[in-house]
């Protein structure tokens, strides 16, 4: 059994008390887990196939067509009827539930792309004939992963800067605060657009670019918390024990700041996802062809005659951001020491 401190237990309890947030977290986690296995759910390659007595797993390894008795030395195109016949003659294939990857183009459309939802493409196709559901699953994963990395690195920098300027104070504090005031005054969007036209944007370059501006969210709360705690008796006691400054900051002061940090984190995450989506929507985000919700939104805008594009992008974004916001509210409640009294006060008012 995990050794949970009573205060953590109380917070866990408070978190569960917020039913909406608690269920949102579970729904979100399930969706995220599903999207992490996107390759096994939506792919243009079979998960497993048996050919001539041996097993192949094309999802993980590349096999050339000649392996299955074909003619080309290139990787087998399992969607090709010729290849399918070759394999089915001497074996079988297990397909993912959706037989399209995010970049698979369906050439057998009955109507011109973007085609409306049917049994083959459950959410229709986009204007290049790619399956919207497959792109949605991959795009969801990409958004969350991007948001998580941006939040993680941004918070790490922000907490470090905030901790140092709060704990040491003095010149470091003064300079970092003035720098942040100037830095946060920069027109972020224009800078990103200019940078995006100079640098070829990819996942990591875009992450670094956004990181330049997104680390500042947490600095102020962490700084305030360190300013408060550095004069507490137990910090003094640790100093008197000869504990090094770094250990004091991490072991004694940081846990106090974690409350504020963790309560802000879900909101930082939604912010990160939103900014990626908006950059994609404007066309300055991830490289063309990447599955992204912003790009899907843009397609919806350009193809108003195909409402399934806009609706899908809108609904998925709305659900994802609402889930994260609900989780954030529950986390905030969990860390609020006065929550119980607030609840009772509102009960009293309603009576």
């Amino acid at each position: 059994m995990l050794n949970i401190s009573p205060i953590a237990k109380r917070r866990l309890y408070q978190f569960r008390q917020n039913r909406r947030g608690y269920w949102s977290l579970w729904i979100f986690l399930v969706l995220f887990m599903i999207s992490l296995c996107a390759e096994l759910i939506a792919n243009d390659k079979p998960i497993l196939l048996k050919y001539a007595g041996s097993y192949y797993s094309p999802v993980f390894f590349a096999y050339s067509e000649t392996d299955f008795g074909g003619e080309f030395e290139t990787e087998a195109d399992y969607r090709d009827e010729f290849v399918q016949e070759l394999i089915n003659k001497d074996g079988w294939m297990i397909w993912p539930p959706i037989r399209y990857s995010y970049k698979t183009i369906n050439y057998n459309l009955t109507s011109p792309a973007p085609s409306s939802p049917d049994t083959e493409n459950l959410l229709g196709t986009d204007d290049q004939g790619r399956d919207v559901l497959a792109r949605l699953i991959y795009g969801f994963r990409l958004s969350i992963l991007f948001g998580l990395s941006l939040t993680f690195f941004g918070s790490a920098i922000g907490v470090a800067v905030g901790a140092m300027s709060g704990y040491f104070g003095g010149w470091f504090d003064l300079l970092s605060q003035r720098f942040m005031e100037i830095w946060s005054g920069m027109p972020v969007l224009y800078l990103l657009i200019i940078m995006a036209s100079v640098i070829e944007p990819g996942f990591w370059t875009l992450l670094c670019l956004l990181l330049l501006f997104s680390w500042m969210t947490l600095v102020d709360v962490v700084r305030a918390e360190f300013l408060r705690t550095r004069n507490l008796d137990y910090i003094r006691a640790a100093k008197a024990l000869g504990v090094s400054t770094f250990v004091i900051m991490v072991k004694h002061a940081l846990p106090n700041a974690m409350v504020a940090t963790l309560s802000l984190m879900p909101f930082v995450l939604t912010g990160a996802i939103t900014i990626l989506t908006s950059l994609d929507f404007l066309g300055f985000g991830l490289p063309p062809g990447s599955p992204s919700l912003g790009e899907l939104l843009q397609q919806g805008k350009n193809n108003l005659q195909a409402p399934w594009l806009g609706m899908t992008a809108f609904l998925s974004l709305a659900v994802m951001l609402s889930l994260l916001t609900f989780v954030g509210e529950a986390v905030r409640d969990a860390f609020d020491p006065r929550k119980i009294f607030v609840k009772q006060a509102s009960e009293e008012e309603s009576l």
Binding site: N3, Y234, A237, A240, G242
Partner: protein, 539 residues
């Protein structure tokens, strides 16, 4: 008919996820006109909750009264409508609080605050209100503030603030004044003045006082009738004289005999000098102007010399603001200080940070507030073993654990509790944990900064015993900082009296307490032992 009658009163607090806490259990007592009734008890005994329920100021509905009746002038105030309560609060029954710092609104002038109850309850013109405020200031002995009606609370001293609070409470000449620890936050000399003032005003206005305190000396001086509370129950109530002469309940007897007594073990005069300080100064710069230039210094500690031998206790006494805590922190170099401090013949102000850090194992510190001194997020074992992790890195986890267990037994705590968190312990237990943290490194010098002031009297005595015991066993040297002269007398061999950052008088405990030389020391001692002095006058 009694003025205030409390019958079978109970107060419960609702706690989510667990049973209700019974803060007050079926208590009954009454207050007559002009009488002073004292509620005495240690922290958590329910005395403040009782007082607050008289004015119905508890956080309802978290708090509730499962049983009981509080009748004031024959009307029951429990669950009375707000309009009735408002007419009573601040008008017929008023209250003064423990902490004059926070009980006054820092953003309003004192005139406005004293006038507030008048404007609320009396239909007076602004001229009349002004006159009345001046009259009240005269009454509480703040005549010098008449020209400074526009002052804000931060411009006043603690004693002056408490007088302003009393003026507010008395504005409408209440029938009952509830005084919740009215002097606890004040210096000893000021305490005495405030108590005298309350007595004088009571005679003049004929009001009843319900006095809530943990300090039996205050009770003895002030009250006619005493209720002793413990764990939400009144264990004994009697006339003041009767109670002090013949306490019946064991708890009352224990409280009466709980004062720290005895004397420190005699020490060897020829023991080597452990710590000596010359011209210690701690100055805080006052900055002003656009360029934040240093224009002046607050001389918190100014030119202080100290000397401490092995196994000896040096008491430092003084009122708040005298610089005694600052001196303690300055000696340990936890604050920027100048001068020369030699610890074990090494000038610790000349040490490099790294050398100083290893030296810290030998000089430790125990704080006043056992609540703030322990990190709430670490278990007791983690708190105590931290010093070992820094200074004795070679120890294995099991060896550290064994040392923690040993030290917990030594300070009188159950070693099985080492996995718990500080909030599960009482104040006295926490102070023991803090002491364990300090002595596990086998230090030679421990600076004790008011280690007993935040504790109940009965606990104070046990902590003093523990500290004396540890001193003999480990040949520890203490610097004992306190404003409480009784504890200082029980602990120290030598005493320094400080005022405004300077040493007023220094000498052996015997000299200071029996033959004080300066007026200041005399007044401190008189105030601290006022009951004794009054008794000796009477007899």
């Amino acid at each position: 008919m009694k003025l205030l009658e409390i019958k079978d009163l109970s107060v419960n607090f609702r706690i989510p996820q667990s049973d209700d806490v019974q803060a007050v259990k079926h208590i009954s007592f009454s207050v007559d006109r002009g009488q002073t009734v004292a509620l005495v008890g240690e922290s958590g005994s329910g005395k403040s909750v009782t007082a607050l329920s008289i004015l119905q100021l508890l956080p309802y509905p978290t708090a509730s009264h499962p049983s009981g009746e509080i009748s004031f002038n024959g009307t029951n105030v429990i669950n009375a409508p707000n309009s009735v309560l408002r007419r009573v609060r601040g008008n017929k029954i008023s209250m003064i609080f423990q902490e004059p710092m926070t009980a006054l609104n820092p953003l309003h002038t004192i005139e406005k605050q004293i006038a507030e109850p008048l404007l609320l309850h009396k239909k007076m013109s602004s001229v009349e209100v002004h006159e009345r405020v001046l009259e009240l200031l005269d009454m509480v002995g703040l005549t010098m503030l008449k020209d400074r009606l526009k002052s804000y609370p931060h411009e006043l001293s603690g004693g002056q603030r408490q007088r302003v609070m009393i003026a507010m409470a008395l504005a409408n000449e209440p029938d009952i004044l509830i005084a919740d620890e009215p002097t606890t936050a004040l210096d000893v000399t000021v305490q005495l003045q405030i108590l005298d003032l309350l007595q004088e005003l009571q005679q003049k206005l004929g009001m009843a006082i319900l006095l809530i305190t943990h300090d039996l000396n205050v009770v003895k001086k002030m009250s006619d009738y005493v209720c002793v509370m413990k764990n939400g129950e009144i264990v004994e109530q009697a006339n003041s004289k009767e109670l002090f002469a013949k306490p019946k309940h064991t708890y009352t007897k224990m409280l009466l005999s709980a004062e720290p007594k005895g004397q420190p073990q005699p020490f060897n005069d020829n023991a080597p000098i452990l710590l000596s300080g010359k011209n210690i100064k701690v100055h805080f710069p006052v900055k002003a102007g656009l360029m934040r230039r240093v224009v002046d210094y607050v001389r918190a500690v100014d030119d202080v010399d100290i000397e401490l031998r092995q196994g000896q206790t040096l008491g430092i006494v003084g009122e708040s603001g005298s610089g005694k805590t600052t001196l303690g922190l300055g000696i340990l170099r936890l604050l920027q200080s100048t001068g020369k401090v030699e610890f074990k013949n090494k000038d610790i102000f000349a040490l490099k940070p790294k050398e100083l850090r290893s030296m810290r194992a030998k000089m430790q510190l125990v704080f006043q507030d056992p609540y703030g001194a322990l990190s709430p997020r670490l278990s007791v074992r983690q708190i105590i073993e931290e010093g070992l992790q820094v200074h004795q890195k070679s120890l294995s986890k099991e060896e550290r654990d064994k040392l923690v267990v040993d030290i917990l037994i030594e300070v009188g705590l159950d070693p099985d509790t080492r996995f718990r968190y500080p909030h599960e312990f009482s104040g006295g237990q926490r102070q023991r944990i803090a002491i364990a943290r300090a002595i596990i490194l086998k230090p030679e010098l421990v600076v004790l900064d008011e280690p007993t002031s935040a504790l109940d009297v009965s606990v104070q005595a046990t902590i003093v015993d523990l500290l004396r015991d540890l001193q003999v066993r480990h040949n520890l040297s203490y610097v004992f900082i306190s404003h409480d002269l009784k504890v200082v007398r029980a602990m120290s061999h030598n005493v320094l009296v400080m005022k405004d950052g300077k040493i007023v008088e220094a000498g052996t405990t015997e000299q200071i307490f029996t033959k004080p030389k300066t007026e200041y020391t005399k007044s401190l001692i008189n105030a601290a032992f006022f009951i004794e002095s009054q008794q000796s006058k009477a007899s």
